[in-house]
Point group: C2
Chain length 384, copies 2
């Protein structure tokens, strides 16, 4: 197996964007190619992740992106795994480079939905649930995560204010990220006073609908060394699944796919949770970040809220979580999110994260799931 | 690299189906699992291919399929590359098994669109073109392939009756395929008298919109031997790309991605066009089959029509093309088609093709592309 590396990274701003889905994907990809210091023709294949290309009337995005980059003859494909599409695509690219099928590939995640309005978006996103059991019963994602939050409140010593702290922390980080969608300082009172979306979750417990694109160049270490740019190593990769419908799970306060993916990734990297310096995790709702940090092994089950209360997950804490601002503040263009997490880790480990830098970090982790965690991928990265 | 094999295969009937997209995918997958003689828990991951899950309100299909098969913890993802989705997904599964990431995986292609009606389907399919240049200008696929057909008529000694012969041949094959969508004998006169869709292409030059699902089990040869079922080897795999918009190509009568993918697949398999006993090729329109057979090296450029006239591509001919009936008669559920081609090759090479058996065949090829060939994959299979 080849040692796989991230050689370059680029992102559009996340938020409400005017350009087409093709254009924003090309913009992020050109930035990643420039950052890597390579020419487009050195790219062997394109791995695109996207969920609702139909919203911008463009599916089969791969050839459009490759053609716009001037390399139409290169193979490409799109990967979808709901909100976990980006990390699923990253994993496929990783496997192909590790196996030697390509020396270098483009991984580009993208989504363009805000122009369609909240009603359309909420409806279409519900198609990512197990629609037979959930979506058609009216159980869209705010409701499903509210069920998890309610179960957590019942099972452990936690309050709604604890969830609010996650939002406050991630908005603080996002203020330092020029690419973030919601660059706004908020307080616990702001969260508590915001409109109830699905009790106990309020508006500020929820990530926004965002447009955006993020790209990275993934390559063998041999290729990275020959091209002389700054690179980081991908040392662990894992994927797992959970029952598609929440009702099929034994417990509501843990996500099995996270545990499976994390175990594989830790094993491949030869490290454990204590070796991780910071993590970008899937905080589509504040409750998700709490559950994630427990399932990833950073804290015992039920102790995730105490960790937030004690600032252990803040940027200067024991294990900073979502220094980028996370889905909550940076935004959540669903097909791009998993790749955007890798962009943040690349920026952090190569000294490009500016004011939000996690000091002394050499090992980062990304965790990105689809729906309520029906699909999940975890990756571990180390600086050279 | 592990030698990769196809151990089992299953398909629903192609046509207008009543069951949901999830249900038809599970049906085909259960058939493939039974055919392989394995238990679902022996499957390491699921590779789903699908384009318009939104049409049946279910994207993020992987976890739904894995959950219904009783293996929710296994990772899965969906791959889209327009009408070439099935072969792109097959290739990813192939790469992962070849590299040793999994011993056995499920590859399932699926599509459910007929319930939405012709207008919706034509519109959505146009999102698979380069929408900026083609779809929004009204250039949907019948029009784009008509441009290719017109160019072919201008450039070579060919007639509209030559194209019609492709349809007649494929319908003859499809009559022997109980899973085929259009089981109807037609004549050249029928084709010539059918309604003009986009001149020079008439209704019977076009494949139908179909629902359907096809699945195969892909595994290492070690796994196949241990499980004792009938299997065939995947000896060659290639992928390529072409300019997304037809206008970006130098020639209209050749598809660059086919040539690139074929060259890679032949090289990996260590064979040439003359070693192929039969092929399932992408005949979304009759002109496509002519161009395909030339680009795959079976005939010189411009000679594909003579080959059809002389019955070289008929079931008893020199190189039988589309013994299954092809997209034209078997049908074209776009996310399933590329996997369905592999099902046909498996059935042919393991003696399960009944009356449509290509006698003495030991080597088969599949060729499946997206849009007007912007993406393409070619695979080569050999019996054990």
């Amino acid at each position: 197996m080849e040692q796989v590396c991230v050689l370059g990274a680029g992102s559009t701003k996340y938020g409400k964007l005017e350009d087409s889905i093709s254009d924003i994907t090309v913009q992020a990809s050109v930035d990643a190619i420039d950052s890597a210091g390579i020419e487009p023709r050195e790219i062997g294949a394109g791995y695109i992740s996207n969920v609702f290309g139909v919203a911008d009337k463009q599916v089969h995005l791969g050839p459009v992106i490759m053609s716009n980059l001037g390399i139409p003859e290169r193979p490409s494909l799109s990967i979808e795994s709901a909100c976990g599409s980006g990390s699923a695509s990253f994993r496929e690219a990783f496997a192909n480079v590790a196996a030697g099928f390509y020396d270098a590939v483009l991984v580009a995640g993208t989504e363009k939905v805000t122009h369609t309005g909240t009603e359309w978006t909420t409806t279409y996103f519900s198609y990512c649930s197990d629609f037979f059991y959930e979506g058609q019963a009216g159980a869209s994602f705010p409701g499903l995560f509210a069920s998890m939050a309610r179960a957590y409140l019942n099972e452990f010593k936690a309050t709604e204010e604890d969830f609010a702290r996650v939002a406050v922390k991630n908005h603080e980080n996002g203020l330092l990220n020029p690419k973030a969608h919601l660059q706004k300082k908020i307080t616990i009172d702001d969260v508590m006073a915001s409109a109830v979306v699905a009790s106990p979750l309020k508006l500020y417990d929820c990530c926004p609908f965002s447009d955006g694109a993020s790209s990275v160049i993934l390559c063998s270490e041999k290729f990275a060394k020959e091209h002389g740019g700054e690179y980081i190593r991908v040392t662990g990769s894992g994927r797992g699944g959970s029952s598609a419908a929440l009702q099929g799970r034994e417990q509501m306060t843990t996500i099995p796919s996270t545990r499976i993916a994390a175990e594989q990734a830790y094993k491949m990297a030869g490290v454990g949770p204590k070796d991780i310096d910071f993590a970008e995790v899937h905080d589509c709702f504040t409750i998700a970040e709490i559950v994630d940090t427990e399932d990833l092994g950073f804290f015992e089950k039920g102790k995730g809220v105490a960790a937030v209360r004690e600032d252990a997950t803040s940027r200067g804490g024991e294990i900073p979580i979502n220094p980028s601002g996370g889905l909550k503040s940076k935004g959540h263009p669903i097909g791009a999110t998993g790749v955007g997490q890798v962009v943040e880790v690349y920026d952090q480990l190569t000294g490009k994260a500016g004011q939000r830098t996690v000091k002394g970090a050499t090992t980062g982790l990304t965790h990105n799931f689809g729906a309520t965690g029906a699909s999940c991928a975890v990756h571990i990265f180390q600086s050279v």
